[in-house]
């Protein structure tokens, strides 16, 4: 009988933190910019500069720890890790080796096999390295230090994962939780979420771990899936058929070739000579700081989802869509609090706001309109004070400027008129000018009424309760 194998996987996930500035200097930490735009003497390794910890980095490190049910180390320290590489300007990286900010957490995942808790070994804060840019024309390598010292957290899991499906579920869960807590945008395509996979294979039931390899350079979740499947097969093939000798090593995933390749030993082996950074005092997290961060934690997305369905009566589809993004939830909850209209608030976000976002090529996370104002607008519509078309115009304006919807509607003549005399005048004029439609309607063509209705509404610039107009129009014709 053929041996069955199980795969043992542990992940190291690097996540760039959503801070304005870098971890030890005041340079911008934003993605993009011209090469070496976001640099100063500190983050390009000039002598004389000393690191001063950006407190917001510690805030986000703690937040991530709490979201993943970790114990927060109340005294957390920074350490230096030494190695030479041109994208590392000081030839050392400041990281956390001896007392990381968070340890011993769990992340619950859901797969086709049910629920499973993945243990988190630790979360540590560290600085990113720069980028090498090779110019083939001049055969020269240039260094871009924009990313050096951008703050990262590294989330190290225990080897609790056993399939590509579980890894994908774990990564999606991490992304959802950390985006919800505004720790990071977690975008793999921009490199703000990166994942190294430690993998070994052993006969099912065996207590002994097989030879472990580490894979790097997967740029999407699907690439990670492919890499795990390839690497698992490679290990099993080596064990069963002796095609090659498995060695503990770091391998680079080539997604185009669909294969992993051993990296030069030099790039991987090394004694990093860690020691405490004497320039960064231990960070002491007192109760006030700890409780302050605790108070800012959001509800988990699934808790919100349940609440939206059971308490607010939203459909599952709407609740799923809203809880994709913290920004959508925030705007929805504020709009609901103002309008007390849950379904309308959800609809406005899912249809109208999404349309504007799409048009502006923005992601749901970038929705930053004032939820309270949206609630006011929804109420205006529900009360029949503003027509739908005009309400969408007001929404457009809310994406651009901080406006009060009612004031804006009044100033722009969007408030529905209750002046029945004026409405009757318009109806009379439209009916007089389009006797053909009147005749068609009387002849049984329902559509003809819509044409007349549309003309009246256009004449009234939409500022009319549609029900009132319809009733008066019918009365006039008949």
């Amino acid at each position: 009988m053929a041996t069955k194998y199980e795969t043992v996987i542990g992940l190291e996930v690097h996540i760039e933190l959503a801070t304005e500035s870098k971890i030890f200097c005041s340079c911008s930490a934003k993605f993009g910019g011209e090469q070496n735009d976001h640099v100063c003497p500190a983050c390009c390794g000039m002598p004389g500069m000393l690191p001063v910890v950006n407190k917001h980095v510690v805030d986000l490190g703690m937040t991530a720890g709490m979201m993943l049910n970790c114990h927060i180390n109340r005294v957390t320290t920074f350490d230096k890790k030494s190695y030479y590489y041109p994208d590392l300007p000081c030839s050392y990286q400041t990281t956390q080796w001896f007392a990381p900010v968070a340890v011993n957490g769990t992340v619950r995942i859901n797969t086709s096999k049910g629920e499973k808790d993945i243990r988190i070994k630790q979360i540590h804060m560290e600085e990113d390295a720069g980028k090498l840019v090779h110019d083939d024309w001049t055969n020269t390598t240039f260094v871009d230090f924009n990313r050096t010292s951008v703050p990262l957290i590294e989330i190290v899991s225990q080897p609790d994962l056993s399939s590509a499906e579980e890894v994908v579920a774990y990564l999606e869960r991490l992304r959802s939780l950390l985006r919800f807590a505004k720790v990071s945008e977690c975008r793999m395509e921009q490199g703000s979420m990166r994942c190294d996979v430690n993998l070994s294979v052993r006969p099912e039931g065996s207590k002994v771990l097989g030879v472990r390899t580490e894979m790097k350079n997967m740029n999407s979740i699907s690439a990670i899936e492919r890499a795990i499947e390839y690497e698992t097969a490679r290990h099993i093939d080596a064990i069963e058929n002796g095609t090659e000798e498995l060695v503990q090593e770091t391998r680079r995933w080539d997604d185009i070739k669909g294969k992993s390749f051993a990296m030069r030993n030099k790039e991987t082996a090394g004694d990093y000579r860690y020691f405490p950074d004497p320039n960064v005092m231990p960070v002491c997290i007192d109760d006030e700081w700890y409780d302050g961060i605790k108070a800012t934690l959001p509800e988990f997305p699934e808790v919100k989802r349940e609440k939206y369905i059971n308490e607010l009566g939203l459909g599952e589809y709407d609740a799923d869509l809203l809880t994709e993004s913290r920004a959508l939830c925030d705007v929805f909850e504020a709009a609901y609090a103002e309008s007390n209209l849950a379904k309308e608030s959800a609809n406005w976000i899912i249809s109208n706001c999404m349309k504007v976002l799409n048009r502006k090529q923005m992601t749901p996370d970038m929705l930053n309109i004032d939820g309270k104002s949206l609630g006011k607008l929804i109420k205006l519509v529900a009360d029949g004070k503003v027509g739908n078309a005009n309400a969408r115009k007001i929404l457009d304006e809310m994406f651009e400027n901080d406006i009060d919807p009612e004031k804006y509607a009044t100033e722009n003549g969007f408030i529905v008129s209750n002046d029945t005399g004026r409405i009757q005048d318009v109806i009379n004029a439209v009916v007089a000018a389009d006797q053909k439609s009147v005749a068609d309607f009387k002849g049984g063509k329902e559509k003809a009424l819509m044409a007349l209705f549309g003309k009246c509404m256009k004449e009234l610039k939409g500022n009319c309760d549609p029900a009132v107009l319809r009733e008066m129009l019918l009365k006039t014709i008949q």
Partner: protein, 400 residues
């Protein structure tokens, strides 16, 4: 022999010589190394800004030994400084002694400024760690290095110190202003009891022992009680500091790799050759030794045996000082074994700076303040500069 590696004229005020470890944007900063020949900083050190703001004139950049870890500046790529009698001397001490500068600012990582002041009968203050910003100094051994002031007399040294002491947000180890204010206080504080470090004194030459005896006499004449104490534990500071200093130095100078600025070899085809050859060609022998030693102390297999032990000894020594300063206002000890050194001494023992720091390491590793006067050294508890300076006043003029 040029004492100044770069000179600046025309500024008004008392003249300050900066050891070439202090970064300046208008003059190159070399750290005494070929690696940083003609290196121009983009900014001034915090001490330079404070001195200028207080009306001092920056006279220039004084030659220093490479990364200021040597005995008396002898490892400078730009040449050693010798007195007329052939004794070694640091450039900044000579500038102050000759009156070419009113005071000198140094960086004390391995005791060099204190040693030079003691040998030349000058006054030198190494203030409490964290009271003077290290922003803009070439980092060597950050956990202990301190900016120092050297002058001909106590009051000049004190005035310059007051100009540079204070909290700085740009230095994460800088202490809060209220603590720095204790150092800046105008009033000197008289000492009642002074301890003499027995074994450190006994290990020094007869001439140095005589200076200690003279200091004891001067204190007693002023009604101060002087008691000899068992200081054998302080002897461990040297080895512990050699470990911590070398490890930190190895890490700090690893940024000088020939990639971004500084010396780059012409002899390379790969990045590894660029690193290796640039550093091999630009660093001197003592620095290379320190780098290799430091690298060893931090390696996986030595960390617990060496670096971690160094940190533990630091803590034990701090506790020992706490205990001593419960009963005494200051500890009197030598600053060097001999009263003069020559080039022959440094050739005979290439690592002499790693032995002679027996006397300077106790204050460096614990960060307590030290004051040199009358050729001897006084250590006190944190922020007790004004006690040490009051004692130093009583030794002024002696020991030249």
């Amino acid at each position: 022999m040029e004492l100044y590696l770069a000179k600046q004229d025309g500024q008004k005020g008392k003249k300050i010589a900066l050891d070439d470890m202090i970064l300046t944007k208008d003059m190159p900063t070399t750290a005494g190394s070929k690696m940083l020949e003609n290196y121009m900083s983009l900014f001034d050190a915090e001490v330079v800004e404070r001195l200028t703001a207080s009306g001092y004139a920056i006279g220039g950049k004084a030659n220093v030994g490479e990364m200021c870890i040597d005995l008396l500046g002898e490892t400078s790529y730009y040449g050693a400084v010798e007195g007329e009698d052939g004794t070694l001397m640091t450039a900044s001490a000579m500038l102050v002694k000759n009156g070419e500068a009113d005071a000198a600012i140094g960086l004390d990582a391995n005791g060099t400024p204190r040693r030079a002041a003691a040998l030349n009968g000058l006054v030198c203050i190494k203030p409490t760690y964290g009271t003077v910003s290290r922003f803009g100094t070439v980092s060597i051994a950050c956990s202990g290095e301190t900016v120092t002031v050297t002058a001909n007399d106590v009051s000049t040294a004190k005035n310059v110190l007051d100009a540079i002491v204070g909290h700085d947000d740009k230095d994460g180890t800088s202490l809060p202003e209220e603590k720095c204010a204790k150092v800046k206080a105008a009033e000197f504080v008289p000492a009642k009891r002074v301890a003499v470090a027995r074994s450190l004194t006994e290990s020094a030459s007869e001439a140095i022992k005589q200076k200690i005896a003279d200091a004891v006499d001067a204190f007693k004449a002023n009604g101060i009680e002087v008691v000899e104490i068992d200081d054998s534990l302080l002897l461990t500071a040297k080895n512990a500091w050699n470990i911590l200093m070398s490890a930190e130095l190895c890490n700090n100078v690893s940024r000088y790799d020939g990639v971004k600025y500084g010396y780059r070899t012409k002899n390379y085809t790969t990045i590894d050759e660029l690193y290796t050859n640039s550093r091999t060609e630009a660093f001197g022998e003592l620095l290379k030794t320190a780098i290799l030693f430091g690298s060893e102390t931090l390696s996986d297999y030595n960390y617990m045996k060496m670096y971690d032990k160094g940190l533990r000894i630091r803590r034990v020594l701090s506790e020992k000082f706490d205990e001593i300063f419960e009963s005494f206002d200051a500890v009197l000890m030598p600053a060097s074994a001999k009263s003069a050194y020559t080039k022959a001494d440094t050739e005979e023992n290439k690592y002499i700076a790693y032995d002679e720091n027996l006397y300077t390491a106790p204050a460096t590793i614990t960060g307590v303040p030290a004051v040199i006067a009358g050729g001897v050294q006084l250590l006190g508890k944190a922020f007790s500069e004004n006690v040490l300076l009051d004692l130093a006043k009583k030794l002024e003029g002696a020991g030249k």
